[in-house]
């Protein structure tokens, strides 16, 4: 896990309540209101999407909504900047492949609905 429990300058981070969302069909937990990308990062998820042309993996790059590399399919909508979108209970987050959701491994394509 890569959450900082106690920071020498900032102390313990202020967080919302722990909520559950799904990532490629799997339940995952994060703190309400933190960017989706942070919940994924804390859970060890590195790949947010695969590109349209070269099918290369991408993840967080700028973390402030500029580069749009961290986009994923969120609640069925593609190209959602996960570094800027606050996490909510029950969200469906899927790895994006080009402009659609990548089929989760070993599973059927999900329709992206929560």
């Amino acid at each position: 896990m890569s959450r900082i429990a106690e920071h020498p300058i900032l102390g313990a981070p202020e967080k919302g309540r722990l909520v559950t969302f799904t990532y490629d069909g799997r339940p995952m937990q994060g703190y309400e209101g933190e960017p989706i990308a942070m919940a994924l990062k804390a859970a060890g998820v590195m790949v947010h999407r695969y590109t349209a042309k070269r099918h290369e993996p991408r993840g967080i790059f700028c973390a402030i909504g500029r580069c749009t590399d961290c986009v994923m399919v969120v609640d069925g909508k593609p190209n959602v900047r996960t570094c800027m979108t606050p996490l909510r209970e029950g969200m469906t987050v899927q790895t994006q492949d080009g402009v659609t959701a990548k089929v989760p491994e070993g599973g059927a394509p999900t329709d992206g609905k929560a």
Binding site: T51, R66, T68, D69, V71, N79
Partner: protein, 104 residues
């Protein structure tokens, strides 16, 4: 600017397959070749290859592209045409952009 000026032949480079525009997945080699095909301004490069026309609208790669184009043309990057800037500054959903708050 006389587009017939001789800028020398295209010489393949070892890093031509290096990705420069992350959004539209355009390589350094493609940019260099485009210059030799006659794309001598940032605007033309953009229209020709879509560099900087993706989701981030060039916020990540413009400086890199400028450097490559300038080197290929043998000019200073500062002499290349300025970046354009078009609204909306951030990608905006149609239903949001179309939903103007009516003033009372």
């Amino acid at each position: 600017m006389d587009r017939s000026r001789d800028i020398g032949p295209f010489v393949p480079g070892p890093d031509d397959d290096l990705l420069i525009c992350r959004c539209e997945e355009v390589t350094k080699g493609e940019i260099r070749r485009a210059v030799h095909a006659g794309m001598w301004t940032m605007t033309e490069i953009r229209r020709f290859l879509r560099v900087g026309m993706g989701l981030c609208q060039g916020q990540s790669c413009t400086k890199l592209v400028k450097g490559i184009v300038a080197r290929e043309l043998g000019v200073s990057p500062a002499t290349l045409d300025p970046e354009t800037s078009r609204a909306p500054m951030r990608p905006t959903e149609m239903h949001v952009l179309g939903d103007e708050k009516k003033e009372a």
